[in-house]
């Protein structure tokens, strides 16, 4: 089962080059065109229905209606397609066609009067046709507003001085010559504002465009000679997350109005270097899963940026996300819920391959079997269904599903939490082997701090949608500097009765992310704040993530300096007294 033994399949290549996502003006213009097409097509359908049931007067207008509606629909579709062509002549056509649609609808309205003797019917027909007219006008206006898009010079909305990083202004189109790396003013990055990147030991490399002229293609699952992601040589992060936010609206009441917002992820910055295992820890509900899904754009972000191997993900045309999606895969926590029970394994794993354009059934099955073999399952298992497998085996199938696509980057969302200890270690070993053989980069999400310590290179501790502390495993576990990290570490139950000790027990539960506490979000449970006599700053000022001690170790606490062996011991000695007091209180 060594890497070399897996023969490669004939690989389909993705021919199209990556395109940037058009700006909002163009997207609005397109949406309006599609709306017109839908509207008039629906009208035509109703007319035809009328013809079928023999409604009076329908047969008279059916032909002119056909003659006008069909070209309108065709023009609408053509317009939408043409916005993909970023040439000035396309702009002229797009706006021209939008205008033609407007005129055509106008013509239809005008001819109504002459064709229909019944004044009432005419009036209603004209009334019905006014919306597409205005839609067409509005669409043309939107396209004009987004005219710069057709010039190929649309700027990234984030300016350098806002984001703290160099804007990705170079086009995502592959044919553009790569920007020379030394021409990048790295000082701009170093001096920039409030959210510097959290690269441990990495020179604060600006996020240069990853366009180096190679076409993205599906690489074989196992190919030792495979080119590492473009970011590997440049020593820059594979994934760079800056100011990322994901808010969910809460709807309620009879009218389903928005009555609140869940701040699931609320301004997170970090970098993941190629080949690294970066972990997120924290209690349930603190936003780990949402963050993981937002990083690979399974859920769109509310704000902030994710740069994957040089591609600004929010800016990539949704259709062109496909080759990037292949490179970013996810393994889910629940080995029981995440596999469709009605699908055989071949389809579960093959689904993603099909979506990537591998239409040849045989090639797909071959690749599915390769993936199964890679995770230590038998090739014959492709014919079976999920219920025939144990929890550990299902988790392996989840891993195989991700691997089949040959990703560089895998978000592993609590991949071993639902498994028994003996199976957990098998899956952890598998993930380690695969990482080494396939040069993978992991974003590993877990609430188990022992597993994280064993498994990862760097760790970020999350609390209520923000990073409380970030650093290498050694920095974080040997010298925790956030009161929350201290408490988490103290709470780990160790399987060694000799190390039985008093714990630093936190009060209460994690507050709701829909109503995060003011100032420092941890202040409602913070033992350090209590020891320091409840300083006001904790409730009024949100602590910034600042470097503490060694490079790369950053903590979001105003009073991180006050954490010492003594304060922790004192707090530990007092904490259980809370429980005891409650007990005595009876």
């Amino acid at each position: 089962m060594t890497a070399a033994a897996t023969p490669s399949v004939a690989e389909p290549t993705v021919k199209r080059k990556l395109r940037r996502r058009p700006p909002a003006a163009i997207r609005n213009g397109r949406a309006l065109m599609i709306a017109i097409a839908g509207y008039v097509a629906a009208g035509l359908f109703i007319l035809l229905l009328g013809l079928v049931i023999g409604a009076r007067g329908v047969s008279g207008i059916i032909l002119p209606a056909l003659a006008v509606v069909v070209p309108i629909v065709v023009l609408c579709i053509l317009t939408v397609r043409l916005t993909r062509t970023r040439q000035v002549w396309a702009l002229a056509l797009v706006v021209g066609w939008a205008a033609v649609v407007a005129v055509a609808v106008g013509f239809l309205i005008a001819t109504m009067a002459s064709r229909q003797p019944d004044a009432n019917a005419t009036f209603f027909a004209q009334l019905l046709l006014t919306p597409p007219f205005f839609l067409a006008v509005a669409s043309a206006w939107h396209f004009l507003r987004g005219a710069r898009w057709f010039n190929g010079e649309w700027e990234h909305p984030l300016k350098a001085d806002e984001s703290g990083a160099r804007p990705i202004s170079a086009p995502l189109v592959v044919s553009a010559p790569p920007a020379p790396a030394d021409s990048v003013p790295s000082a701009a990055h170093a001096t920039a504002g409030t959210a510097p990147l959290a690269a441990a030991g990495a020179p604060a490399a600006p996020v240069a465009p990853g366009m180096d002229g190679h076409e993205p293609e599906i690489r074989p699952i196992v190919a030792p000679e495979v080119a590492a992601p473009a970011s590997a040589e440049a020593g820059r992060p594979l994934v760079s997350v800056q100011g990322l936010k994901k808010h969910f609206p809460i709807y309620g009441g009879v009218l389903r109005r928005q009555i609140g917002t869940v701040y699931a992820v609320d301004g997170v910055d970090f970098d993941i270097m190629p080949g690294e295992t970066f972990s997120l820890v924290g209690e349930s509900g603190c936003g780990k899963t949402t963050l993981g899904r937002t990083v690979i754009q399974l859920t769109p972000s509310t704000d902030g940026r994710v740069v994957f191997d040089g591609y600004e993900l929010a800016d990539v045309d949704p259709e062109d996300m496909r080759p990037l999606r292949r490179r970013m895969q996810i393994i889910f926590q629940d080995p029981f819920g995440s596999l469709n029970p009605r699908m055989p394994i071949s389809d579960i794993i093959g689904e993603g391959l099909l979506a990537q354009g591998l239409t040849d059934r045989q090639a797909r099955d071959k690749r599915t079997e390769d993936a199964l073999e890679l995770v230590g399952l038998r090739r014959e298992y492709t014919r079976r269904y999920p219920h025939e497998f144990s929890g550990g085996q299902r988790q392996r199938i989840g891993v195989a599903r991700a691997l089949a696509l040959g990703p560089d980057f895998i978000v592993a969302d609590e991949p071993v939490s639902a498994l028994d200890v003996s199976i957990q270690s098998q899956v952890l070993n598998l993930l380690l082997d695969l990482k080494r053989d396939l040069k993978l980069t992991y974003l590993f999400i877990s609430h188990n701090l022992s597993v994280v310590q064993y498994f990862s290179d760097r760790v970020a501790v999350m609390y209520l949608g923000k990073i409380a502390e970030i650093g290498t495993v050694d920095q974080l576990y040997a010298d925790p500097r956030h009161p929350y990290t201290v408490a988490l570490l103290s709470a780990i139950p160790e399987a060694d009765p000799r190390r039985r000790r008093k714990r630093l027990v936190l009060k209460g539960d994690v507050p709701s992310p829909a109503a995060p506490p003011s100032g420092c979000r941890f202040h409602t449970r913070c033992w350090l704040r209590e020891r320091l006599g409840n300083p006001e700053r904790c409730t009024t000022e949100d602590p910034a993530l600042r470097t503490f001690g060694e490079e790369g170790h950053r903590v979001a606490c105003h009073f991180a300096e006050d954490i010492s062996q003594t304060t922790v011991e004192q707090a530990t000695a007092e904490a259980p007294a809370v429980v005891a007091a409650a007990v005595e209180g009876e």
């Binding site: 890679l374 230590g376 028994d420 270690s425 060694d496």
Partner: protein
Amino acid sequence: MTETSTERPVAGAPPRDDILLDVRNLKTYFRVMDGVVPAVDGVNFSLGKGHTLGIVGESGSGKSVTALTVMRLLDIPPAEIGEDSEAWFDGRDLLKLPESDMRRIRGNDIAMIFQEPLTSLNPVFTVGDQIAEQVELHMKVKAREARDRAVEMLRLVGIPSPERRAKQYPHELSGGMRQRVMIGMALSCEPKLLIADEPTTALDVTVQAQILELLKAIQERTGAALILITHDLGVVAEMVDNVIVMYAGQVVEQGTVDQVLLEPRMPYTMGLIESIPTVEKRGGRLSAISGVVPSPFHLPPHCRFEPRCPYRWETCRTVTPELYNAGDGRVARCHLHLVEATARREAAIAQHRQNMAMGRRFTGAPDRLGDR
């Protein structure tokens, strides 16, 4: 207070006075469509008054069924309890009691806490009412007094503003709060024995720490005995004096917590402990137990761990192991403790020590054992 099978009292006779619960040859089978599942297959243990016992093992090993059988909470059929099984509690055999007596014991003398408190709390009554009802039923007090006691219980388990919380419904409380309510309810009648089945598995670490501290404090104060069922060896290390390790429905090792966790004498326990990720094992592979738990319909005929055991030899495939004395009062179901296997035993123990010290280093070829 854990006794080995060799020094057991005669069948049918109650145990010594200081033994609170004495389970003898407990067998529970489930008759299902595909055949018979021996969920619990001859379990023996005893628990002294005020002592703590941990039952560990992977899911499906029969931990929960053991507890549910003792509590008589299983539906019969499909469950079937062995003819000669006994569970002596306070001088009476629970398995032979009429259901009415049993109902009085449940809640009065033995209380149980489950993993998912939401499913064991009634969603349509406030938590205060549920505790009060329990108190009223078992302690024969007036409604008003019962309500006061319910609030008192909530305060005892560390719920802030208990008067307000008592008026809330289970779904309005967080997981940690619900587990506290369950504990409060279990303790409201001052039971002599508390059985907690995975009480913290569904909870976050910081809340788990709260619940464990609470259980400890309360157990110390009320002097109740505790049976803690869990798959988390860390929780066991933290909480109990004696440990039973279960595998495929059988007890495979039994001893004090120090003995079992620090010097395991049965290959399955060794493997479990080795597979826990620790800081010392960083950079290396974890030593994993290969393969999976056997299907209950196709149990290996002799040693049930044999297909996964790295130390097996011919004897393991031909002779059924019993619980052998493994020194210092502990027992292990493994042929390594036969006198003629001394050399093998020592080699296994040495290997275990080495695995614990470093984990297995990466070697050339990846060994993705999987299920092969």
